[in-house]
């Protein structure tokens, strides 16, 4: 009896472990890079992309997304965010060269908040709807409200501090 009881969970454990490995593989279709940002950050990117919002790390989106964003700066989420051709070229190269290397799916969203990985990490199991209503958070594009080191590309969940 005791032996049989011991044997049963072993099978379960194997199954559970397998599922644990499988789930990330299944969901890895569109995933951000780790780290999200290279150690050496382009100065133009830092300067130009952090005027109105934080300079979102290139590894948060695939190259295709960055190309779409950088060719549509005249209507950048409702704002006119023009750059000179030279600046655009330099920043686009930096973004594309450091875009997510874990993106195998065909999707190329314009918003980081529309990516599968973002939604999974921030769904209602993880983050209470109350958090989004906090004026200190204001909107999901405001990474630094909780990820204080977001500007440096640090989204490690151990460093998350959700404001009260």
């Amino acid at each position: 009896m005791l032996i049989r009881y011991r044997k049963f969970p072993r099978g379960m454990v194997v199954a559970l472990l397998a599922m644990g490995v499988m789930i990330p593989i299944v969901q890895a279709g569109d995933n951000r890079s780790k780290p999200a940002q290279p150690a050496q950050v382009n100065a133009k990117f830092q300067q130009e992309c952090s005027s109105c919002h934080i300079a979102y790390s290139p590894g948060l989106l695939p190259a295709k997304s960055w190309l779409k964003i950088m060719t549509g700066l005249d209507k950048h989420f409702g704002s006119y965010a023009s750059l000179t051709d030279q600046e655009n070229k330099e920043i686009t190269a930096f973004l594309v060269n450091n875009a997510s290397n874990r993106w195998s799916g065909p999707s190329a969203p314009l918003r980081i908040t529309e990516t599968t990985w973002f939604k999974r990490k921030h769904d209602y199991h993880e983050i209470s709807p109350k958090v989004w209503k906090n004026p200190k958070v204001k909107n999901p594009a405001n990474c630094t409200a909780c990820h204080q080191q977001a500007e440096r590309g640090d989204f490690n969940e151990h460093n998350v501090k959700i404001p009260k």
Binding site: C52, S79, Y80, N139
Partner: protein, 140 residues
């Protein structure tokens, strides 16, 4: 000894301040005079800039959702906040932020961007000059 230390630190800070200041391309007043020369070229009836007109322009909406003050606040010596993202914007008035209107490239870039957002067009030299004249009158 502490006093000596403080003095040398102060000297260093002052020197650094001078160096970084001289790195600015021009003063806001020089920026204003270059806008004035644009305004003279643009219109033969140009009669100078007005702080009152600039203030009114700055605080009024021009057909779109935002005025200049939506992000730069009604009191431009205080820090502003991007109306959409909430990102803090350093004070707009040169009296509260010495870097303002000192880099011609930045001045041109931001007038182009922000006038487009606020008015759906570029600003005239008259409008730019009025706003800068107003901003130069706002003291901390």
């Amino acid at each position: 000894m502490f006093r000596k230390f403080n003095v040398s630190i102060l000297t260093l800070v002052a020197a650094a301040g001078l160096i970084s200041h001289s790195a600015f391309a021009q003063t806001p007043e020089v920026t204003l005079s270059s806008i004035r020369s644009d305004a003279t070229k643009a219109s033969s009836s140009f009669q100078g800039f007005s702080a009152a007109r600039g203030e009114n322009f700055f605080k009024t909406k021009h057909g779109n959702e935002w005025s200049c003050a939506s992000c730069h606040t009604e009191n431009p010596v205080t820090p502003g906040k991007h109306a959409k993202t909430g990102k803090v914007i350093r004070p707009f008035a040169p009296s509260a932020n010495v870097e303002r209107f000192t880099d011609p490239g930045k001045v041109a870039k931001w007038f182009k961007r922000n006038c487009n957002d606020v008015l759906d067009r570029v600003c005239t030299p008259q409008e730019k000059g009025d706003v800068l004249t107003y901003l130069l009158t706002v003291k901390k």
